[in-house]
């Protein structure tokens, strides 16, 4: 009874077969991720241009970020990617319990990441590292160029965090549906696709971490 219900839910009318539908969905998601790459690309370009021009100041500014926190947060995100892939795995083998467990874990880890991020942002406000009239960075006379670094820092981590928030929202929806028993070993495309998204957001951070926190620890 339930199975046949999910069956009809699963295959939308424009498709001929479930395989066609699944392929279409993951192709759609991959293409969407390409658009995301291009979306971030504008900020990466700005970063590259200004870092090349003002490498000394960028290095001073980058040194004010806390590497330990950054590294820990990177690890948190990697853990969340791991639990996400386990959730996909659980869905594939049809284990509802594990699926729910791992979805919850992933969301929790995502939440931890965002919490740490919020803490870091708050630090920036306290240290006057937020671009604007009150901005001040010690160790350089180039306050304007230093602001560029922090503008990029906020833009990049901000857009990334926004993606995390959206990701957590998606996982929440999936979780509710998983509770309702919507996903089975036969039909779990949405979990798969959400996984792709989550991993993508992780990858963005994998680049942001060295670019913002690490590069320029040593500058002459």
């Amino acid at each position: 009874m339930l199975a046949s219900h999910t069956e009809t839910l699963a295959l939308r009318e424009q498709f001929e077969t479930p395989a066609q539908q699944k392929e279409a969905s993951s192709l759609g998601m991959w293409i969407f991720l390409v658009t995301e790459v291009m979306f971030f690309s504008g900020m990466f370009l700005a970063y590259t241009v200004y870092r090349a021009a003002f490498s000394q100041v960028f290095s001073v500014a980058s040194n004010t970020l806390n590497v330990v926190i950054g590294a820990v947060n990177t690890s948190v995100l990697i853990c969340s990617s791991f639990t996400m892939v386990l959730a996909v795995h659980a869905a594939q083998i049809g284990s509802r319990k594990l699926l729910i467990l791992f979805l919850i874990l992933t969301m929790l880890l995502g939440g931890v990441f965002l919490g740490v991020k919020a803490y870091e942002w708050n630090q920036k406000f306290e240290e006057h590292h937020v671009p604007g009239p009150t901005f001040h960075l010690d160790g350089t006379t180039q306050q304007g160029q230093a602001q560029l670094f922090f503008s990029l820092y906020f833009a990049m981590t901000g857009v990334h965090a926004l993606h995390m928030v959206v990701g957590v929202g998606i996982l929440l929806t999936l979780l509710i549906q998983a509770f309702a028993g919507r996903y089975t070993a036969e039909y779990n495309t949405p979990i798969d696709i959400a996984g792709l998204y989550w991993h993508f957001v992780d990858i963005v951070w994998i680049f942001l971490f060295p670019l913002l926190y690490l590069i320029g620890r040593h500058h002459h």
């Binding site: 370009l45 700005a46 604007g132």
Partner: protein, 539 residues
Amino acid sequence: MITEAVQERETYLNASYGLKSWLLTKDHKRIGLLYLGTITFFFFLGGIFATLIRLELLTPKGDLVSADIYNKLFTLHGVIMIFFFLIPSIPATLGNFFLPMMIGAKDLAFPRINLLSWYLLVIGGCFGIYAMLAGGVDTGWTFYVPYSSTYSNTYVVATGLGIFIAGFSSILTGLNFIVTVHRMRAPGMTWFRMPLFVWANYATALIQVLGTPVLAITLVLLICERSLHIGIFDPARGGDPILFQHLFWFYSHPAVYIMVLPGLGVVSELVSTFSKKPIFGYKFVAFSSVAIAVLGFLVWGHHMFVSGQSVYAGLAFSFLSYFVAIPSAIKVFNWTATLHKGSISYATPMLYAFGFIGLFTIGGLTGLFLACLGVDIHVHDTYFVVAHFHYIMVGGALMAYLGGLHYWWPKMTGRMYPEGFAKLSALTIYLGFNLTFFPQFILGYLGMPRRYWTYPDEFQVLHVMSTAGASVLAVGYVMPLIYFIWSLRYGEIAGPNPWGATGLEWKTASPPPAHNFDETPVVTTEAYDYAALEAANVG
């Protein structure tokens, strides 16, 4: 009796009734019509701004509107025509309606996303209209910093948000088309059996997906810069305004191919159907669309030859610009060759196709002048550029759109438009168009800068000619509006295939049933196989 038969048959139009059945529809055909209504509205809105621009320029003095209003007029004209009319025009209306049918699919891969795209366009449009009513925006459609970020005191943020949202509509349409073409083709519909319109929309979709996100982030950065003063492009803090131009044109040059590629696709359909011949060099025409899409991403710096960009970058961008011209040339030559020994009909859509080929050629060839470094230092930001792009976008893309609309009108509505009236309007548009924009080439070479509210006296005669042409043009555009609406009720009933065309969309009833085909078609012939069509009709 025929009428009765038509009325009783179930079509996508009478499958369900009521506003809700339209606003919540997932049928690509209905969504196509929703788009049609939306962009028609925006076209006339943009057209009213154009009319006011032309009236102001009738005299050298600024005597109709104030300088600030004039600046808002051309900005809103450009923004609306580009982002809310031409970019969605062919893909979202004709493409939406016919792309799935032409490959024998029941719908697009993601119908709900398709509906979402339309809502995004409407929401984006609402932001645009809000900006317009609240006081307008005066940055030009190019939004160059630091003017837009710091100096303008108009509604830049609202407009930027509107374009940002409309951009997502465009991205999602593109995404939908790509997946549909890859995954939804009917059995037997191989890549090289696809109609060229599908190829063109596929190539367009690639640009939409790869380019639009960069515009989106550029607008986000601009909005942040303007509202939070983060300094990304601020020279006082070491920021570089030319970085903005790179980001903007990385999207906006390819975007011109978003605007023209679908038109090129329509013309391929028209030329074939109305000469009853397969397109000469099908594969070349098909690949040239993809080539244009790809090469189009390598030339954006040709908008920045005198901007303070390095001369060496200018050199590279000029060089590469000429590469895009070749696939365009290939198309024009192949269409011409297709006509050879054809059976050429002068139906209205074909007149538009002829008009398109001529005007696109002129517009494209003048693009070569602009891509030429030595000439561009003189004509950059003059009316020469204005003439160039109107030749391609109005003479080209818009003509193709109108041609396609006439061609598929019977399929969409089940009724014919009045042929005589339509021919008259096509002719009016053609004459009015040339009178409006040809003098602008001369003006441009004389040195008349664009975005000028007032101008030296000696340019007046040419401006008067241009304004006169624009009035003729306006009449030409209002005519289809009238007779298309008229035909909905009084037009002659159209059969399933009034033109003797070969595409799958003509193999189903007019208007089509909600699921397009009564049974999934199986394709056994190449595209444009008129002999097979005839054999089937006889047999």
